[in-house]
């Protein structure tokens, strides 16, 4: 536990870990919110989630290589991925929406492989990254560094989150999506074109992933086959947060991000992922216990 001593003696390092964890978590929050949306509205667990993230990264990288500042990649990747999502829905997903979960998992798994191989063919297998040129903020006598791009990412997540909440509350389409999520059949009877709602939902999810990907390529590195990590992370956040509550998703993402950093510091980097999975099991057990207790009260 020598690492714990470091934190106790120099608490400044825990500030570093906390800030970094929260900011890292915010990037995952975007993709996770898209996954919750898809799961809630269409009952699809999207295995290809991470591949949309990486594709968004490549869209940004293409702009970057053309001499455009990668920050413009955030909206551009979102728009491009929106279109890609719409096409994928029209080509494949609409056939599996009402089928059981297993079929949609299989279908999105297939899409995942296809996207990976296409990205590999088009962009090559090398790792790549885009420099935002934003630099770092150094705090506390250079003991804590915060990269500005991560702050930008945090801001993007907040803005997009608020925009989404408004979209679902105010706009007709947002209301239609919520209605469809509650009861697709009833929504259809009320004259909502659920097929369009599904297409919109799927495209919106892809757009969120695209924006996340633009942030990923500026913060870290991308490679065609690294998408699964983002799928798994989104899945976990959604499992912890539940469906249909954007605040819970953001909170879970930030919390997991921070927990991960501390786990990696205290236990060693090899336990980073393992710790998060362990935490997932604990959270599910605890939640289950609480739910049971509530049911007993209701009896």
């Amino acid at each position: 536990m020598g690492n714990l001593e470091i934190l106790l003696q120099a608490p400044i390092f825990s500030v570093q870990l906390l800030i970094d964890g929260l900011l890292v978590g915010s990037i995952f929050a975007l993709a996770a919110y898209g996954m919750a949306l898809l799961w809630g509205v269409m009952n699809i667990i999207n295995i290809s989630q991470g591949d949309y993230v990486i594709l968004g990264g490549y869209v940004t990288l293409t702009l970057y290589n053309a001499g455009i500042h990668p920050l413009f990649g955030v909206p551009v990747a979102a728009v491009v991925l929106f279109i890609v999502g719409w096409i994928i829905y029209r080509a494949v997903i609409f056939r599996v929406v009402d089928r059981d979960l297993f079929i949609s998992i299989l279908a999105t798994f297939g899409i995942s492989i296809l996207l990976q191989q296409l990205m590999d063919q088009i962009f090559g297998a090398d790792i790549q990254s885009a420099e935002s040129g934003l630099g770092q903020i150094f705090l506390f006598d250079n003991q804590v560094t915060v990269s500005q791009i991560k702050l930008v990412a945090f801001a993007v997540v907040v803005v997009v989150g608020v925009a989404l909440v408004l979209f679902f509350k105010k706009s007709r389409m947002g209301q239609a999506i919520r209605a469809t999520a509650q009861n697709a059949r009833a929504a259809r009877l009320m004259g909502i074109n659920t097929d369009r709602v599904y297409a919109m939902t799927f495209a919106l999810n892809a757009a969120l992933c695209g924006a996340a990907g633009a942030l990923v390529v500026m913060t870290w590195v991308i490679q065609p086959f690294i998408g699964l990590a983002y799928t798994i992370r989104s899945f976990m956040i959604v499992v912890v947060a539940g469906l249909g509550n954007i605040a819970a998703v953001v909170a879970a993402a930030l919390g997991l991000g921070a927990a991960e950093q501390f786990a990696a510091f205290l236990l060693g980097a090899e336990f980073q992922i393992g710790f998060v999975f362990g935490l997932l099991v604990v959270i599910l057990l605890v939640r289950n216990m609480f739910l049971k207790r509530q049911r007993q009260v209701l009896k």
């Binding site: 890292v24 590999d120 297998a125 560094t145 990590a229 980097a269 980073q272």
Partner: protein
Amino acid sequence: MFRYLKPAFILLPAAALAMSLAGAAQAKVEGDTIVLGAALSFTGKYKTNGKHTKNGYELAVKKVNEMGGVKVGGKSYKLKVVYYDDESTPARGAQLAERLIKQDGIQFMLGPYSSGLTKAMAPVTEKYKIPMVEGNGASRSLFNKGYKYLFAVLSTSEQYLAEAINLAAQQTLAAGKDPADLKLALAMENDPFSQDIRAGVLDDAQTHSMNVVIDDKLPKELNDMTVTLTKVRALKPDILVVSGHSKGAATAVRQMMEQKVDVPMFAITHCEAADVVGKFGPGADYTLCATQWAETMTYKDKYFGAAPDYAKLFEKEYGYVPPYQAAESTASVLVWVDALQRAGSFDREKLRDALAATEIQTFYGNIKFDETGKNIAKPMVLRQIQGGQYKVVAPTKWASDKLIHPRPKWSER
């Protein structure tokens, strides 16, 4: 409807079988051409290095053929290589090895790219007693299984960064201090290759009784090392050693630069593959990079001359500076040429013995195999990035430039 298709279902495999049997009749030597076989990664995650490997093989074949081919038993033969795409997956590699040997009748194998693929193919070549000369599988575990038909021209992975530890020890002794006081930090990807490197580094650290203060195993999908670097900032080690293929190299160099982490010595693998100089410019300066081969070395052979001549020829042919993956592939073909000529026959066992007795110098380095089939005559090279240029600084015998040690602090750059 399916009733009418049935005959087709039976006929098709039968035809395929007949064709494959016809293929088996072709020998490993067709007329005056010796046919070598290789499964390489033309698609999937290793495709860049798969291409380097193929270009390396092809350049050797071209040069050898231009210079009169291979003389076996008084007759001159041309070389040719048959390739398949292993899709960067080990299972496919093993299948293709089987196919090359059983259907295409290949008797002379060249290695695939990466330790993982080599590990998948070696049991197959071993089963059929087909010798394989490879230049891209460095994992230690390839050479402790008692394989008799596997020969590797490159330095094995536990040697990759061990030289950095010795270099640090030398520097410390020269400065009149005790290497045992040095603090060592390791951040190694949790995969067989990087863990081999870790084992080698730890062995050498132990001989100098250095202190290991950080020993992180990074996840396979690594793209963030902030936590490890925070530890580095807290514990102030004298040496930081990182290995995690290209993504590890790019992540480490980038975050060291961004977070202005100071450490006197910083050594990594895969600088060239990750193009850290191109990506990060001056931020990559003073990094120590392990490499199998450098185009400034002075080893020589009759086909390519010295290493710089090889680099020039390769660049003329393919339009880029040869990475060591290409050089070691070319060297693998040269080992075959030498063994074929010395054996003077196509007898498999004679060839194996000839390969085992190899003792040559190539532009890539000296090659001499020990009984496990790995090359023990060539050391790893350490290059330091100085002003955007790779300069050889170790081993001292081949060094062209002096090591800049310790790394200047970020605040002083």
